[in-house]
């Protein structure tokens, strides 16, 4: 998009504009998502508890309820305890929001459509998601109250330990796809729903559920929401918070819920690919992330985004369902679930999937992946030879045609406009710098 703009604008401005547009899109998604989620939560909770939930505000279904809540929260007085640490107390909620929001930057929404497409996007997402815990911990500590402190410490313990099985679960699709590029992983599941990684082999099927558990825990939703266990700690880490800051916490929480469920759908449930490859039949879908712009592909991608968001919402709905169905665990039960069940199962499935891939290269249901780089990658992994390094090079630059496209841009960027060259070198990491690609030759 940036290079398209840079024909009309200064490259740097074009770059700025691109960035801002991306940011705004994501922010819109996040904000709207939160609004809808809060409403959903209320309705679902109500239904599950055999109530109606909000009904009046905004006519039917109380669909404006969240707005009303927002107004209430915004107008609430924002208090701060006397012996709280002022800076941290103020900062804590926003850290969480930033963390959960920043993850969306590298999240691909459709074929090749990501704000910043990175070759290690999944890894980045996990990493940044891990930062969210700081908000809770700092909040817990900074508000200078025992309840909050306990909440924070629980959160620290829980999140740090749940990152292990979560990472292991994520490792399984990564291993099968042979890349950490979410875009590639999603592209790999193109076609019929039998291509979805959850149906790749029994182990991935198990891992999917383990992943759901760990994700629920790592965004500390019920039944793992010990950081805010109102029965023991008044409200956990946000006991002392009120008003906007309090609501920011919840925006963060809902964001991360949406994120993990979208991640789940990309990793296991085919991402933006529907159960039936309609657009592939129609032949209008983008071949790969590096395909040139086409309206058909654009259309397909729009539907893909809708598809992905739908799956994400479904995942969130499931989380709410779980929350309002299951009782809350004790802290030791939480820890046991993590260390004694999730981690071993994830390890076992990781090994199992590895053996499976070795036994049936290309999978049983899963057809040979459309993503060219992947196969080369694991080939490269298995044969550590000199030409294997070139394999790396190719896999890092995704396809040959991408290479040509990019070289053109490099040529453009030679005329002292680094700004223009920036975004696409970020978008499709396909800049064939000889030094960077052929790591073996220098």
């Amino acid at each position: 998009m940036a290079e398209a703009l840079s024909e009309y604008l200064w490259p740097s401005v074009a770059y700025l504009v691109t960035g801002v547009v991306h940011a705004l899109l994501l922010l819109g998604l996040v904000a709207v998502g939160t609004v809808i989620f809060i409403w959903m939560e209320r309705k679902i909770a109500g239904r599950i508890q055999d109530r109606l939930g909000p009904t009046r505000v905004g006519g039917k279904f109380g669909w404006l309820q969240t707005v009303a809540d927002g107004l209430k929260l915004a107008t609430k007085e924002d208090t701060m305890p006397r012996d709280a640490d002022p800076i941290l107390f103020k900062l804590a909620p926003y850290i969480g929001l930033c963390a959960s929001y920043a993850t969306f930057i590298v999240l691909p929404f459709a074929t090749g459509w990501a704000a910043v497409s990175s070759s290690i996007s999944i890894f980045l997402i996990i990493a940044i998601l891990g930062l969210e815990v700081f908000s809770v911990i700092l909040a817990g500590y900074a508000s200078g109250s025992k309840w909050s402190l306990f909440g924070g410490m629980r959160e620290a313990a829980q999140v740090v330990s749940y990152e292990v099985p979560l990472g292991l679960c994520v490792l399984v699709p990564v291993m099968i796809a042979g890349t950490m590029d979410l875009n590639a992983i999603g592209e790999m599941q193109r076609g019929w729903f039998t291509n979805w990684l959850v149906f790749h082999d029994p182990f991935t099927f198990i891992v999917f559920w383990v992943y759901l558990t760990c994700a629920t825990a790592s965004v500390n939703r019920a039944p793992f929401d010990l950081a805010e266990a109102e029965s023991e700690l008044v409200a956990g880490f946000h006991t002392e918070y009120s008003g906007v800051r309090w609501s920011v916490f919840f925006m963060a929480e809902y964001n991360s819920m949406l994120l993990v469920s979208m991640l789940a759908s990309i990793l296991f449930l085919g991402g933006w690919h529907g159960p039936l490859p309609v657009f592939d039949w129609a032949g209008i879908a983008y071949e790969s992330a590096a395909s040139p712009f086409s309206w058909g592909g654009f259309l397909a991608n729009v539907f893909g985004i809708a598809n992905l968001i739908l799956k994400g919402f479904l995942g969130v709905a499931v989380m709410m369902w779980v929350r309002w169905t299951l009782p809350r665990l004790r802290i030791d039960q939480v820890m046991r679930t993590c260390l004694k069940y999730c981690t071993p199962i994830a390890c076992f499935c990781f090994l199992g999937a590895a053996i499976w891939c070795w036994a049936f290269p290309g999978g049983v249901l899963l057809k040979p992946a459309p993503f060219a780089g992947v196969r080369e990658t694991d080939e490269m992994i298995f044969t550590l030879s000199a030409e294997a390094t070139d394999g790396v090079a190719n896999s890092s630059g995704e396809e040959a045609d991408a290479g040509e496209a990019a070289t053109g841009e490099v040529a453009a960027s030679e005329q002292g406009e680094p700004a223009a060259q920036q975004p696409n070198s970020v978008d499709s990491n396909a800049t064939p710098e000889p030094a960077a690609l052929a790591g073996g030759e220098q």
């Binding site: 200064w10 740097s12 401005v13 770059y15 640490d85 800076i87 941290l88 900062l91 990175s118 070759s119 290690i120 890894f123 980045l124 996990i126 990493a127 940044i128 891990g130 930062l131 815990v133 700081f134 911990i137 700092l138 817990g140 500590y141 900074a142 402190l149 924070g152 410490m153 620290a156 313990a157 740090v160 990152e163 890349t179 950490m180 490269m380 992994i381 550590l384 294997a388 390094t389 790396v392 090079a393 896999s395 890092s396 490099v410 960027s413 030679e414 002292g416 406009e417 680094p418 700004a419 060259q421 920036q422 070198s425 970020v426 800049t431 710098e433 960077a436 790591g439 073996g440 220098q442």
Partner: protein, 199 residues
């Protein structure tokens, strides 16, 4: 406006953040704020890694360091930060000595950093867009034992396989060891209380 080299811009941004919060870590008295500043500082360092083309290392930094190690640190801070220990005043003299020595070291390092003009950066014409130039697979096969880049590296034919294995074993040992320490601590608490009463 078009002259802006965004790479340099980002470098300034992250570098400044890193330096500022590093200094803040030194200057602040509250241990918890130290931890918080350290977090930001290291996060900025991760950004610098990205700028230097080491995307994977940057992500690692975020995941392990910021997400793991520092959380652990803060955890420890919470366990130990009570009343008098939140801020332990250091005598002015020590400040002075530390400052002087630090300044000497800083001067040394800086003049070492800026004396080689090959390091001063590429020629202005060349675009220095270095985000994530190294594919992670490269690191992977290097860890799996592909020999190093320069063929004349003697005794290094097996790449980083051995260090990799050693590190993994070391991690396991650390896991067990720290778990053990934590366990013994709990057992000894009763006797400690008794001693405290006596003394």
């Amino acid at each position: 406006m078009e002259g802006v080299n965004w790479h340099s811009f980002y470098f300034l941004l992250f570098g400044m953040t890193a330096c500022v919060f590093a200094v803040a870590v030194v200057l602040t008295g509250s241990i918890v704020r130290m931890a918080f500043y350290l977090t930001l500082c290291l996060g900025a360092t991760a950004g610098l890694f990205f700028l230097a083309g080491a995307g994977f290392v940057g992500a690692m930094q975020l995941l392990i360091y910021v997400g793991g190690t520092l959380v652990l640190l803060i955890f420890g801070v919470m366990l130990t930060a009570q009343g008098p220990f939140v801020s332990m005043k250091t005598r002015a003299g020590e400040w002075v000595v530390g400052g002087v020595v630090g300044a000497m070291l800083l001067g040394l390092l800086l003049q070492a950093a800026f004396r080689v003009d090959d390091w001063m950066g590429p020629d202005p014409g060349v675009a220095s867009a270095a985000m994530e130039k190294t594919p992670p697979g490269e690191l992977g096969i290097r860890l799996l034992g592909k020999p190093g880049d320069n063929e004349q590296a003697v005794g290094f034919e097996s790449g980083y396989l051995l260090p990799f294995e050693i590190v993994s074993v070391h991690l396991l040992v650390v896991l067990i060891g720290s778990a053990y320490l934590a366990r013994t601590k709990r057992r000894r608490r009763a006797t400690d209380a008794a001693e405290a009463e006596e003394s």
